[in-house]
Symmetry: C2
Subunit: 256 residues, 2 copies
Amino acid sequence: MPTRPPGGNILTLASLKTACSSCNLQDLCLPRGMSEAEVVELERIVAHSRPYARGKTVFRVDQPFRAIYVARSGAIKTYILGSDGVEQIIGFHLPGEVIGLDGVIEHRHQVTAQVLEMASVCEVPFDLLEHAAAHVPALQHQLMRLMSRDIVGKEQQLLALGDHSPERRLALLLLDMSQRFAHRGFSPAEFNLPMSRQDIAAYLRLAAETVSRAFGKLQRDGLIEVDGRLVRIADHAALTAFAGQMPVGGNRREAS
Amino acid sequence: MPTRPPGGNILTLASLKTACSSCNLQDLCLPRGMSEAEVVELERIVAHSRPYARGKTVFRVDQPFRAIYVARSGAIKTYILGSDGVEQIIGFHLPGEVIGLDGVIEHRHQVTAQVLEMASVCEVPFDLLEHAAAHVPALQHQLMRLMSRDIVGKEQQLLALGDHSPERRLALLLLDMSQRFAHRGFSPAEFNLPMSRQDIAAYLRLAAETVSRAFGKLQRDGLIEVDGRLVRIADHAALTAFAGQMPVGGNRREAS
DNA sequence: CGGAAGATTGAGCAGGATCAAAAAATGTGG
DNA sequence: CCACATTTTTTGATCCTGCTCAATCTTCCG
Protein backbone atom coordinates (compact mmCIF):
# COMPACT_ATOMS: atom_id res chain seq x y z
CA MET A 1 0.00 0.00 0.00
CA PRO A 2 1.10 3.55 -0.71
CA THR A 3 2.75 5.09 2.32
CA ARG A 4 2.48 8.83 2.10
CA PRO A 5 5.65 10.88 2.60
CA PRO A 6 5.12 13.22 5.55
CA GLY A 7 6.14 16.40 3.76
CA GLY A 8 2.78 17.50 2.29
CA ASN A 9 2.47 17.71 -1.48
CA ILE A 10 4.48 15.06 -3.11
CA LEU A 11 5.05 16.71 -6.42
CA THR A 12 6.26 20.18 -7.15
CA LEU A 13 4.56 22.32 -9.75
CA ALA A 14 7.38 21.60 -12.15
CA SER A 15 6.95 17.88 -11.96
CA LEU A 16 3.20 18.32 -12.38
CA LYS A 17 3.80 19.48 -15.91
CA THR A 18 4.08 15.90 -17.05
CA ALA A 19 3.46 16.27 -20.75
CA CYS A 20 1.21 14.07 -22.83
CA SER A 21 4.09 13.65 -25.23
CA SER A 22 6.15 11.88 -22.59
CA CYS A 23 3.26 9.98 -21.03
CA ASN A 24 3.44 6.23 -21.37
CA LEU A 25 -0.34 5.98 -21.58
CA GLN A 26 -0.48 7.77 -24.92
CA ASP A 27 -1.84 4.84 -26.85
CA LEU A 28 -4.72 4.31 -24.46
CA CYS A 29 -5.51 7.96 -23.99
CA LEU A 30 -6.46 10.93 -26.13
CA PRO A 31 -3.18 11.42 -28.04
CA ARG A 32 -3.45 8.12 -29.87
CA GLY A 33 -2.94 8.58 -33.58
CA MET A 34 -1.96 12.23 -33.30
CA SER A 35 1.23 13.78 -34.67
CA GLU A 36 3.78 15.15 -32.25
CA ALA A 37 2.78 18.72 -33.09
CA GLU A 38 -0.86 17.92 -32.45
CA VAL A 39 -0.04 16.34 -29.10
CA VAL A 40 1.75 19.53 -28.11
CA GLU A 41 -1.40 21.44 -28.96
CA LEU A 42 -3.46 19.04 -26.86
CA GLU A 43 -1.09 19.47 -23.94
CA ARG A 44 -1.95 23.14 -23.75
CA ILE A 45 -5.52 22.42 -22.70
CA VAL A 46 -4.76 19.57 -20.30
CA ALA A 47 -4.39 20.39 -16.61
CA HIS A 48 -2.59 18.02 -14.28
CA SER A 49 -3.84 17.89 -10.73
CA ARG A 50 -1.80 16.94 -7.75
CA PRO A 51 -2.57 13.45 -6.47
CA TYR A 52 -5.93 12.78 -4.89
CA ALA A 53 -5.84 10.76 -1.68
CA ARG A 54 -7.91 7.63 -1.18
CA GLY A 55 -11.58 8.49 -0.61
CA LYS A 56 -11.41 11.91 -2.29
CA THR A 57 -13.94 12.66 -4.98
CA VAL A 58 -12.88 13.95 -8.37
CA PHE A 59 -16.42 15.08 -9.17
CA ARG A 60 -19.88 14.44 -7.85
CA VAL A 61 -23.16 13.49 -9.40
CA ASP A 62 -25.23 16.50 -10.54
CA GLN A 63 -22.28 18.87 -10.55
CA PRO A 64 -21.98 20.96 -13.71
CA PHE A 65 -20.01 19.17 -16.37
CA ARG A 66 -16.98 21.15 -17.49
CA ALA A 67 -14.24 18.65 -18.12
CA ILE A 68 -13.47 15.01 -18.57
CA TYR A 69 -10.79 13.33 -16.50
CA VAL A 70 -8.16 10.72 -17.19
CA ALA A 71 -6.59 8.66 -14.46
CA ARG A 72 -2.83 8.91 -14.77
CA SER A 73 -1.99 6.66 -11.85
CA GLY A 74 -3.97 4.96 -9.11
CA ALA A 75 -7.55 3.82 -9.45
CA ILE A 76 -10.98 5.45 -9.36
CA LYS A 77 -14.51 4.19 -9.00
CA THR A 78 -17.66 5.81 -10.36
CA TYR A 79 -21.01 5.22 -8.71
CA ILE A 80 -24.58 6.37 -8.30
CA LEU A 81 -26.70 6.01 -5.21
CA GLY A 82 -29.65 3.72 -5.83
CA SER A 83 -33.13 4.71 -4.69
CA ASP A 84 -32.49 2.74 -1.50
CA GLY A 85 -29.38 4.79 -0.81
CA VAL A 86 -27.07 1.90 -1.65
CA GLU A 87 -23.98 2.68 -3.70
CA GLN A 88 -24.21 1.19 -7.17
CA ILE A 89 -20.79 1.08 -8.75
CA ILE A 90 -20.78 1.82 -12.46
CA GLY A 91 -17.12 1.26 -13.16
CA PHE A 92 -13.55 0.90 -11.94
CA HIS A 93 -11.05 3.02 -13.79
CA LEU A 94 -7.35 2.42 -14.30
CA PRO A 95 -4.67 4.74 -15.68
CA GLY A 96 -5.37 5.87 -19.23
CA GLU A 97 -9.12 5.50 -18.90
CA VAL A 98 -11.33 8.51 -19.45
CA ILE A 99 -14.16 9.26 -17.06
CA GLY A 100 -16.97 11.78 -17.19
CA LEU A 101 -18.08 11.37 -20.81
CA ASP A 102 -21.60 10.69 -19.60
CA GLY A 103 -21.84 14.34 -18.56
CA VAL A 104 -21.94 15.73 -22.09
CA ILE A 105 -25.62 15.26 -22.78
CA GLU A 106 -27.07 16.89 -19.68
CA HIS A 107 -24.16 19.22 -18.88
CA ARG A 108 -24.13 17.53 -15.52
CA HIS A 109 -22.14 14.64 -14.11
CA GLN A 110 -24.22 11.50 -13.95
CA VAL A 111 -22.02 9.71 -11.46
CA THR A 112 -19.68 10.43 -8.58
CA ALA A 113 -16.02 9.64 -9.14
CA GLN A 114 -14.13 8.63 -6.03
CA VAL A 115 -10.51 7.64 -5.61
CA LEU A 116 -9.78 4.06 -4.59
CA GLU A 117 -6.00 4.29 -4.62
CA MET A 118 -3.96 7.48 -4.50
CA ALA A 119 -4.51 8.80 -7.99
CA SER A 120 -3.29 11.61 -10.15
CA VAL A 121 -5.61 12.72 -12.89
CA CYS A 122 -5.52 14.87 -15.98
CA GLU A 123 -8.37 17.31 -16.38
CA VAL A 124 -9.45 18.20 -19.90
CA PRO A 125 -11.99 21.02 -20.28
CA PHE A 126 -14.55 19.64 -22.66
CA ASP A 127 -15.34 22.78 -24.63
CA LEU A 128 -11.66 23.27 -25.41
CA LEU A 129 -11.31 19.62 -26.26
CA GLU A 130 -14.22 19.76 -28.66
CA HIS A 131 -12.79 22.87 -30.26
CA ALA A 132 -9.44 21.18 -30.70
CA ALA A 133 -11.09 18.05 -32.07
CA ALA A 134 -12.82 20.13 -34.74
CA HIS A 135 -9.53 20.74 -36.49
CA VAL A 136 -7.55 17.67 -35.45
CA PRO A 137 -9.26 14.71 -37.09
CA ALA A 138 -7.19 12.18 -35.18
CA LEU A 139 -8.40 13.69 -31.93
CA GLN A 140 -12.00 13.72 -33.04
CA HIS A 141 -11.70 10.11 -34.05
CA GLN A 142 -10.04 9.03 -30.81
CA LEU A 143 -12.67 10.84 -28.77
CA MET A 144 -15.35 8.85 -30.54
CA ARG A 145 -13.40 5.66 -30.02
CA LEU A 146 -13.20 6.37 -26.31
CA MET A 147 -16.92 7.02 -26.08
CA SER A 148 -17.61 3.88 -28.05
CA ARG A 149 -15.37 1.91 -25.70
CA ASP A 150 -17.32 3.28 -22.79
CA ILE A 151 -20.56 2.08 -24.35
CA VAL A 152 -19.15 -1.37 -25.06
CA GLY A 153 -17.85 -1.67 -21.52
CA LYS A 154 -21.27 -0.98 -20.12
CA GLU A 155 -22.87 -3.43 -22.51
CA GLN A 156 -20.47 -6.09 -21.26
CA GLN A 157 -21.42 -5.23 -17.73
CA LEU A 158 -25.11 -5.51 -18.56
CA LEU A 159 -24.38 -8.89 -20.09
CA ALA A 160 -22.48 -10.02 -16.99
CA LEU A 161 -25.31 -9.01 -14.70
CA GLY A 162 -27.80 -10.97 -16.75
CA ASP A 163 -25.65 -14.06 -16.71
CA HIS A 164 -26.08 -14.43 -13.03
CA SER A 165 -24.20 -16.86 -10.79
CA PRO A 166 -21.99 -14.92 -8.42
CA GLU A 167 -18.93 -17.00 -9.28
CA ARG A 168 -19.27 -16.33 -12.96
CA ARG A 169 -19.73 -12.61 -12.46
CA LEU A 170 -16.66 -12.50 -10.27
CA ALA A 171 -14.69 -14.52 -12.78
CA LEU A 172 -15.63 -12.06 -15.51
CA LEU A 173 -14.53 -9.15 -13.37
CA LEU A 174 -11.19 -10.78 -12.56
CA LEU A 175 -10.56 -11.58 -16.21
CA ASP A 176 -11.44 -8.03 -17.14
CA MET A 177 -9.04 -6.62 -14.57
CA SER A 178 -6.37 -9.09 -15.67
CA GLN A 179 -6.66 -7.96 -19.26
CA ARG A 180 -6.61 -4.31 -18.35
CA PHE A 181 -3.54 -4.74 -16.19
CA ALA A 182 -1.86 -6.60 -19.03
CA HIS A 183 -2.58 -3.70 -21.41
CA ARG A 184 -0.73 -1.47 -18.99
CA GLY A 185 2.33 -3.63 -18.85
CA PHE A 186 1.55 -5.40 -15.60
CA SER A 187 1.22 -9.10 -15.05
CA PRO A 188 -2.13 -10.50 -16.14
CA ALA A 189 -1.60 -13.45 -13.80
CA GLU A 190 -1.00 -11.70 -10.51
CA PHE A 191 -2.19 -8.30 -9.36
CA ASN A 192 -3.56 -6.30 -6.49
CA LEU A 193 -7.18 -5.36 -6.74
CA PRO A 194 -7.61 -1.66 -6.08
CA MET A 195 -11.09 -2.05 -4.60
CA SER A 196 -12.58 -3.56 -1.46
CA ARG A 197 -14.86 -6.59 -1.35
CA GLN A 198 -17.78 -4.29 -0.70
CA ASP A 199 -16.91 -2.33 -3.82
CA ILE A 200 -16.85 -5.56 -5.78
CA ALA A 201 -20.22 -6.46 -4.30
CA ALA A 202 -21.66 -3.06 -5.24
CA TYR A 203 -20.30 -3.49 -8.75
CA LEU A 204 -21.59 -7.03 -9.25
CA ARG A 205 -24.91 -6.27 -7.54
CA LEU A 206 -24.35 -8.92 -4.92
CA ALA A 207 -24.12 -8.97 -1.15
CA ALA A 208 -20.62 -8.67 0.27
CA GLU A 209 -21.00 -12.09 1.87
CA THR A 210 -21.81 -13.62 -1.48
CA VAL A 211 -18.69 -12.10 -3.00
CA SER A 212 -16.61 -13.52 -0.20
CA ARG A 213 -18.07 -16.96 -0.80
CA ALA A 214 -17.54 -16.64 -4.54
CA PHE A 215 -13.83 -15.94 -3.97
CA GLY A 216 -13.71 -19.02 -1.78
CA LYS A 217 -15.35 -21.15 -4.41
CA LEU A 218 -13.04 -20.04 -7.21
CA GLN A 219 -10.03 -20.66 -4.99
CA ARG A 220 -11.27 -24.06 -3.84
CA ASP A 221 -11.70 -25.04 -7.48
CA GLY A 222 -8.10 -24.13 -8.17
CA LEU A 223 -8.94 -21.34 -10.61
CA ILE A 224 -7.40 -18.53 -8.57
CA GLU A 225 -5.38 -17.95 -5.43
CA VAL A 226 -6.41 -15.13 -3.17
CA ASP A 227 -4.68 -13.36 -0.32
CA GLY A 228 -6.64 -10.31 0.63
CA ARG A 229 -6.55 -8.00 -2.34
CA LEU A 230 -3.79 -9.94 -4.03
CA VAL A 231 -5.14 -12.23 -6.72
CA ARG A 232 -3.25 -14.80 -8.70
CA ILE A 233 -4.95 -16.38 -11.65
CA ALA A 234 -3.88 -19.98 -11.30
CA ASP A 235 -5.52 -21.41 -14.40
CA HIS A 236 -6.37 -18.73 -16.90
CA ALA A 237 -7.83 -21.09 -19.48
CA ALA A 238 -10.04 -22.82 -16.95
CA LEU A 239 -11.18 -19.53 -15.49
CA THR A 240 -12.04 -18.24 -18.94
CA ALA A 241 -13.92 -21.41 -19.75
CA PHE A 242 -15.74 -21.17 -16.45
CA ALA A 243 -16.73 -17.58 -17.17
CA GLY A 244 -18.51 -18.95 -20.17
CA GLN A 245 -16.53 -17.55 -23.01
CA MET A 246 -14.09 -19.27 -25.29
CA PRO A 247 -10.36 -18.80 -24.61
CA VAL A 248 -8.61 -15.92 -26.33
CA GLY A 249 -8.54 -16.55 -30.04
CA GLY A 250 -11.52 -18.84 -29.86
CA ASN A 251 -14.53 -18.29 -32.03
CA ARG A 252 -17.91 -17.00 -31.06
CA ARG A 253 -20.10 -17.63 -34.04
CA GLU A 254 -23.75 -18.25 -34.23
CA ALA A 255 -26.19 -19.55 -36.76
CA SER A 256 -26.94 -17.25 -39.64
CA MET B 1 -39.05 -15.60 -41.39
CA PRO B 2 -39.72 -12.42 -43.36
CA THR B 3 -41.78 -12.97 -46.47
CA ARG B 4 -40.58 -10.57 -49.12
CA PRO B 5 -43.27 -9.10 -51.38
CA PRO B 6 -42.92 -10.66 -54.83
CA GLY B 7 -42.97 -7.37 -56.64
CA GLY B 8 -39.56 -6.20 -55.46
CA ASN B 9 -39.01 -3.03 -53.45
CA ILE B 10 -42.05 -1.51 -51.90
CA LEU B 11 -40.95 2.05 -52.23
CA THR B 12 -39.64 3.73 -55.31
CA LEU B 13 -36.33 5.49 -55.20
CA ALA B 14 -38.14 8.79 -55.27
CA SER B 15 -40.14 8.17 -52.13
CA LEU B 16 -37.03 6.83 -50.41
CA LYS B 17 -35.47 10.23 -50.65
CA THR B 18 -37.20 11.44 -47.51
CA ALA B 19 -34.96 14.33 -46.60
CA CYS B 20 -33.56 15.07 -43.19
CA SER B 21 -34.64 18.65 -43.68
CA SER B 22 -38.28 17.61 -43.77
CA CYS B 23 -38.01 14.94 -41.09
CA ASN B 24 -39.95 15.62 -37.92
CA LEU B 25 -37.31 13.84 -35.84
CA GLN B 26 -34.68 16.47 -36.55
CA ASP B 27 -34.33 17.63 -32.98
CA LEU B 28 -33.70 14.14 -31.66
CA CYS B 29 -31.46 13.03 -34.48
CA LEU B 30 -28.22 14.11 -36.09
CA PRO B 31 -29.35 17.42 -37.66
CA ARG B 32 -30.00 19.09 -34.34
CA GLY B 33 -28.32 22.45 -34.16
CA MET B 34 -27.24 22.45 -37.80
CA SER B 35 -28.02 25.14 -40.33
CA GLU B 36 -30.26 24.33 -43.27
CA ALA B 37 -27.30 24.23 -45.62
CA GLU B 38 -25.46 21.86 -43.33
CA VAL B 39 -28.47 19.57 -43.12
CA VAL B 40 -28.54 19.41 -46.89
CA GLU B 41 -24.91 18.34 -46.82
CA LEU B 42 -25.74 15.67 -44.26
CA GLU B 43 -28.58 14.38 -46.39
CA ARG B 44 -26.14 13.51 -49.12
CA ILE B 45 -24.53 10.79 -47.02
CA VAL B 46 -27.70 9.37 -45.50
CA ALA B 47 -29.29 6.36 -47.18
CA HIS B 48 -32.92 5.51 -46.54
CA SER B 49 -33.78 1.84 -46.62
CA ARG B 50 -37.11 0.39 -47.49
CA PRO B 51 -39.09 -0.75 -44.43
CA TYR B 52 -37.86 -3.78 -42.55
CA ALA B 53 -40.52 -6.29 -41.57
CA ARG B 54 -40.95 -7.56 -38.04
CA GLY B 55 -38.20 -10.02 -37.14
CA LYS B 56 -35.71 -8.77 -39.73
CA THR B 57 -32.25 -7.88 -38.54
CA VAL B 58 -30.69 -4.54 -39.43
CA PHE B 59 -27.23 -5.80 -38.50
CA ARG B 60 -25.77 -8.70 -36.58
CA VAL B 61 -23.21 -9.01 -33.85
CA ASP B 62 -19.64 -9.37 -35.16
CA GLN B 63 -20.47 -8.00 -38.59
CA PRO B 64 -18.07 -5.34 -39.82
CA PHE B 65 -19.09 -1.90 -38.67
CA ARG B 66 -19.65 0.47 -41.56
CA ALA B 67 -22.58 2.64 -40.62
CA ILE B 68 -24.81 3.72 -37.81
CA TYR B 69 -28.57 3.49 -38.14
CA VAL B 70 -31.45 5.65 -37.04
CA ALA B 71 -34.95 4.32 -36.65
CA ARG B 72 -37.31 6.54 -38.62
CA SER B 73 -40.49 4.66 -37.74
CA GLY B 74 -41.32 1.46 -35.93
CA ALA B 75 -39.22 -0.04 -33.17
CA ILE B 76 -36.01 -2.03 -32.92
CA LYS B 77 -34.34 -4.09 -30.21
CA THR B 78 -30.63 -4.71 -29.77
CA TYR B 79 -29.37 -7.81 -28.02
CA ILE B 80 -26.46 -10.11 -27.37
CA LEU B 81 -26.64 -13.82 -26.73
CA GLY B 82 -25.45 -14.66 -23.23
CA SER B 83 -23.03 -17.51 -22.67
CA ASP B 84 -26.02 -19.75 -21.97
CA GLY B 85 -27.49 -18.86 -25.35
CA VAL B 86 -30.22 -16.72 -23.84
CA GLU B 87 -31.01 -13.44 -25.54
CA GLN B 88 -29.97 -10.48 -23.41
CA ILE B 89 -31.66 -7.35 -24.60
CA ILE B 90 -29.51 -4.25 -24.44
CA GLY B 91 -32.04 -1.69 -25.56
CA PHE B 92 -35.31 -0.84 -27.24
CA HIS B 93 -35.07 1.87 -29.85
CA LEU B 94 -37.75 4.27 -31.01
CA PRO B 95 -37.76 6.68 -33.98
CA GLY B 96 -34.97 9.22 -33.83
CA GLU B 97 -32.68 7.01 -31.78
CA VAL B 98 -29.29 6.09 -33.13
CA ILE B 99 -28.05 2.51 -32.94
CA GLY B 100 -24.70 0.97 -33.68
CA LEU B 101 -22.40 3.50 -32.01
CA ASP B 102 -20.85 0.69 -30.01
CA GLY B 103 -19.27 -0.62 -33.20
CA VAL B 104 -16.78 2.23 -33.56
CA ILE B 105 -14.11 0.92 -31.23
CA GLU B 106 -13.72 -2.61 -32.61
CA HIS B 107 -14.94 -1.93 -36.16
CA ARG B 108 -17.48 -4.64 -35.48
CA HIS B 109 -21.06 -4.57 -34.30
CA GLN B 110 -21.31 -5.55 -30.67
CA VAL B 111 -25.00 -6.36 -30.75
CA THR B 112 -27.65 -7.65 -33.10
CA ALA B 113 -30.37 -5.18 -34.07
CA GLN B 114 -33.72 -6.76 -34.82
CA VAL B 115 -37.00 -5.14 -35.81
CA LEU B 116 -39.87 -5.36 -33.36
CA GLU B 117 -42.40 -3.38 -35.36
CA MET B 118 -42.21 -2.69 -39.09
CA ALA B 119 -39.47 -0.10 -39.19
CA SER B 120 -37.81 2.15 -41.68
CA VAL B 121 -34.27 3.17 -40.89
CA CYS B 122 -31.72 5.68 -42.09
CA GLU B 123 -28.25 4.35 -42.69
CA VAL B 124 -25.33 6.69 -42.16
CA PRO B 125 -21.88 5.46 -43.25
CA PHE B 126 -19.66 6.25 -40.32
CA ASP B 127 -16.52 7.26 -42.19
CA LEU B 128 -18.46 9.81 -44.21
CA LEU B 129 -20.20 11.00 -41.08
CA GLU B 130 -16.91 11.51 -39.29
CA HIS B 131 -15.54 13.36 -42.25
CA ALA B 132 -18.57 15.63 -42.35
CA ALA B 133 -18.38 16.18 -38.60
CA ALA B 134 -14.80 17.39 -38.96
CA HIS B 135 -15.95 20.56 -40.68
CA VAL B 136 -19.46 20.94 -39.25
CA PRO B 137 -18.99 21.68 -35.56
CA ALA B 138 -22.70 21.32 -34.82
CA LEU B 139 -22.64 17.81 -36.22
CA GLN B 140 -19.53 16.87 -34.27
CA HIS B 141 -21.16 18.17 -31.13
CA GLN B 142 -24.43 16.37 -31.73
CA LEU B 143 -22.63 13.13 -32.43
CA MET B 144 -20.94 13.38 -29.07
CA ARG B 145 -24.23 14.21 -27.41
CA LEU B 146 -25.79 11.11 -28.92
CA MET B 147 -22.94 8.92 -27.73
CA SER B 148 -23.14 10.48 -24.31
CA ARG B 149 -26.87 9.81 -24.22
CA ASP B 150 -26.19 6.22 -25.07
CA ILE B 151 -23.79 5.94 -22.15
CA VAL B 152 -26.24 7.56 -19.75
CA GLY B 153 -29.02 5.25 -20.89
CA LYS B 154 -26.92 2.21 -20.13
CA GLU B 155 -25.93 3.60 -16.76
CA GLN B 156 -29.61 4.00 -15.94
CA GLN B 157 -30.20 0.45 -16.98
CA LEU B 158 -27.35 -0.77 -14.78
CA LEU B 159 -28.89 1.16 -11.94
CA ALA B 160 -32.31 -0.36 -12.56
CA LEU B 161 -30.89 -3.88 -12.57
CA GLY B 162 -29.16 -3.28 -9.26
CA ASP B 163 -32.31 -1.96 -7.65
CA HIS B 164 -33.98 -5.28 -7.96
CA SER B 165 -37.64 -6.00 -7.30
CA PRO B 166 -39.34 -7.02 -10.52
CA GLU B 167 -42.17 -4.53 -10.03
CA ARG B 168 -39.80 -1.62 -9.64
CA ARG B 169 -37.77 -2.58 -12.68
CA LEU B 170 -40.93 -2.84 -14.72
CA ALA B 171 -42.17 0.48 -13.40
CA LEU B 172 -38.91 2.13 -14.45
CA LEU B 173 -39.21 0.66 -17.92
CA LEU B 174 -42.79 1.84 -18.31
CA LEU B 175 -41.89 5.33 -17.14
CA ASP B 176 -38.97 5.38 -19.52
CA MET B 177 -41.17 4.36 -22.44
CA SER B 178 -43.79 6.88 -21.40
CA GLN B 179 -41.27 9.68 -21.44
CA ARG B 180 -39.84 8.65 -24.77
CA PHE B 181 -43.28 8.45 -26.34
CA ALA B 182 -44.04 11.90 -24.96
CA HIS B 183 -40.88 13.31 -26.55
CA ARG B 184 -42.18 12.05 -29.87
CA GLY B 185 -45.54 13.71 -29.50
CA PHE B 186 -47.49 10.67 -28.35
CA SER B 187 -49.45 10.32 -25.17
CA PRO B 188 -47.29 9.61 -22.14
CA ALA B 189 -50.32 8.13 -20.39
CA GLU B 190 -51.42 5.52 -22.88
CA PHE B 191 -49.38 3.65 -25.45
CA ASN B 192 -48.76 0.34 -27.11
CA LEU B 193 -45.59 -1.42 -26.12
CA PRO B 194 -43.67 -2.48 -29.22
CA MET B 195 -42.14 -5.53 -27.53
CA SER B 196 -43.40 -8.84 -26.21
CA ARG B 197 -43.41 -9.90 -22.56
CA GLN B 198 -40.48 -12.17 -23.28
CA ASP B 199 -38.56 -9.23 -24.65
CA ILE B 200 -39.33 -7.28 -21.51
CA ALA B 201 -38.15 -10.23 -19.46
CA ALA B 202 -34.91 -10.45 -21.45
CA TYR B 203 -34.40 -6.73 -20.97
CA LEU B 204 -35.09 -6.69 -17.23
CA ARG B 205 -33.18 -9.94 -16.67
CA LEU B 206 -36.22 -11.67 -15.24
CA ALA B 207 -38.21 -14.76 -16.14
CA ALA B 208 -41.18 -14.14 -18.40
CA GLU B 209 -43.49 -15.47 -15.67
CA THR B 210 -42.12 -12.92 -13.24
CA VAL B 211 -42.79 -10.10 -15.68
CA SER B 212 -46.34 -11.28 -16.10
CA ARG B 213 -46.82 -11.29 -12.35
CA ALA B 214 -45.24 -7.86 -12.04
CA PHE B 215 -47.76 -6.45 -14.54
CA GLY B 216 -50.51 -8.01 -12.47
CA LYS B 217 -49.18 -6.48 -9.30
CA LEU B 218 -48.90 -2.97 -10.73
CA GLN B 219 -52.40 -3.22 -12.14
CA ARG B 220 -53.84 -4.61 -8.91
CA ASP B 221 -52.31 -1.66 -7.07
CA GLY B 222 -54.04 0.74 -9.41
CA LEU B 223 -50.83 2.17 -10.86
CA ILE B 224 -51.42 1.03 -14.41
CA GLU B 225 -54.06 -0.62 -16.58
CA VAL B 226 -52.96 -3.29 -18.98
CA ASP B 227 -54.62 -4.93 -21.93
CA GLY B 228 -52.10 -6.99 -23.80
CA ARG B 229 -49.53 -4.61 -25.15
CA LEU B 230 -51.67 -1.58 -24.45
CA VAL B 231 -50.60 0.17 -21.28
CA ARG B 232 -52.34 3.04 -19.56
CA ILE B 233 -50.54 4.77 -16.75
CA ALA B 234 -53.34 5.30 -14.29
CA ASP B 235 -51.44 7.17 -11.61
CA HIS B 236 -48.24 8.65 -12.92
CA ALA B 237 -47.21 10.26 -9.65
CA ALA B 238 -47.77 7.09 -7.68
CA LEU B 239 -45.94 5.01 -10.25
CA THR B 240 -43.02 7.40 -10.17
CA ALA B 241 -42.96 7.34 -6.41
CA PHE B 242 -43.12 3.58 -6.44
CA ALA B 243 -40.22 3.38 -8.87
CA GLY B 244 -38.21 5.11 -6.21
CA GLN B 245 -37.56 8.45 -7.73
CA MET B 246 -39.11 11.78 -6.99
CA PRO B 247 -41.85 13.08 -9.33
CA VAL B 248 -40.78 15.22 -12.26
CA GLY B 249 -39.42 18.49 -10.96
CA GLY B 250 -38.51 17.01 -7.62
CA ASN B 251 -35.02 17.29 -6.25
CA ARG B 252 -32.42 14.61 -5.94
CA ARG B 253 -29.74 16.03 -3.74
CA GLU B 254 -27.47 14.32 -1.35
CA ALA B 255 -25.18 15.29 1.48
CA SER B 256 -22.07 17.16 0.49
C1' DC C 1 -1.71 -1.59 21.66
C1' DG C 2 -6.56 -0.83 21.08
C1' DG C 3 -10.52 0.56 18.42
C1' DA C 4 -12.92 0.44 14.13
C1' DA C 5 -13.75 -1.00 9.75
C1' DG C 6 -13.49 -4.85 6.61
C1' DA C 7 -13.77 -9.76 5.57
C1' DT C 8 -15.16 -14.42 6.43
C1' DT C 9 -18.16 -18.07 7.98
C1' DG C 10 -22.57 -20.07 9.45
C1' DA C 11 -27.79 -20.59 9.79
C1' DG C 12 -32.31 -19.53 8.23
C1' DC C 13 -35.40 -17.28 5.14
C1' DA C 14 -37.60 -15.36 1.08
C1' DG C 15 -38.03 -14.07 -3.54
C1' DG C 16 -37.56 -15.19 -8.12
C1' DA C 17 -36.57 -19.26 -11.24
C1' DT C 18 -38.24 -23.40 -12.87
C1' DC C 19 -41.53 -26.80 -14.11
C1' DA C 20 -46.20 -27.70 -15.57
C1' DA C 21 -50.58 -26.65 -17.45
C1' DA C 22 -54.34 -23.78 -18.85
C1' DA C 23 -55.92 -19.65 -21.26
C1' DA C 24 -55.51 -16.16 -24.66
C1' DA C 25 -53.81 -14.11 -28.70
C1' DT C 26 -52.00 -14.51 -33.31
C1' DG C 27 -51.80 -16.12 -37.76
C1' DT C 28 -53.07 -19.46 -41.60
C1' DG C 29 -55.62 -21.75 -44.94
C1' DG C 30 -59.87 -23.32 -46.41
C1' DC D 1 -65.26 -15.30 -42.14
C1' DC D 2 -64.42 -19.07 -39.44
C1' DA D 3 -61.84 -23.20 -37.66
C1' DC D 4 -57.54 -24.83 -36.48
C1' DA D 5 -52.59 -24.71 -35.31
C1' DT D 6 -49.02 -22.27 -33.16
C1' DT D 7 -47.17 -19.08 -30.17
C1' DT D 8 -47.54 -16.12 -26.34
C1' DT D 9 -49.19 -15.10 -21.88
C1' DT D 10 -50.99 -16.16 -17.56
C1' DT D 11 -51.56 -18.83 -13.38
C1' DG D 12 -50.20 -22.26 -9.93
C1' DA D 13 -46.83 -25.20 -7.13
C1' DT D 14 -42.27 -26.23 -5.81
C1' DC D 15 -37.36 -25.56 -5.38
C1' DC D 16 -33.01 -23.28 -4.85
C1' DT D 17 -29.96 -19.55 -4.76
C1' DG D 18 -28.45 -15.51 -2.92
C1' DC D 19 -29.91 -12.14 0.91
C1' DT D 20 -30.25 -11.24 5.73
C1' DC D 21 -28.93 -11.56 10.34
C1' DA D 22 -25.34 -12.77 13.56
C1' DA D 23 -20.83 -13.94 15.25
C1' DT D 24 -15.91 -14.41 14.64
C1' DC D 25 -11.67 -13.21 12.73
C1' DT D 26 -8.53 -10.08 10.32
C1' DT D 27 -6.59 -5.92 8.83
C1' DC D 28 -5.86 -1.28 9.03
C1' DC D 29 -4.73 3.07 11.56
C1' DG D 30 -4.20 6.05 14.86
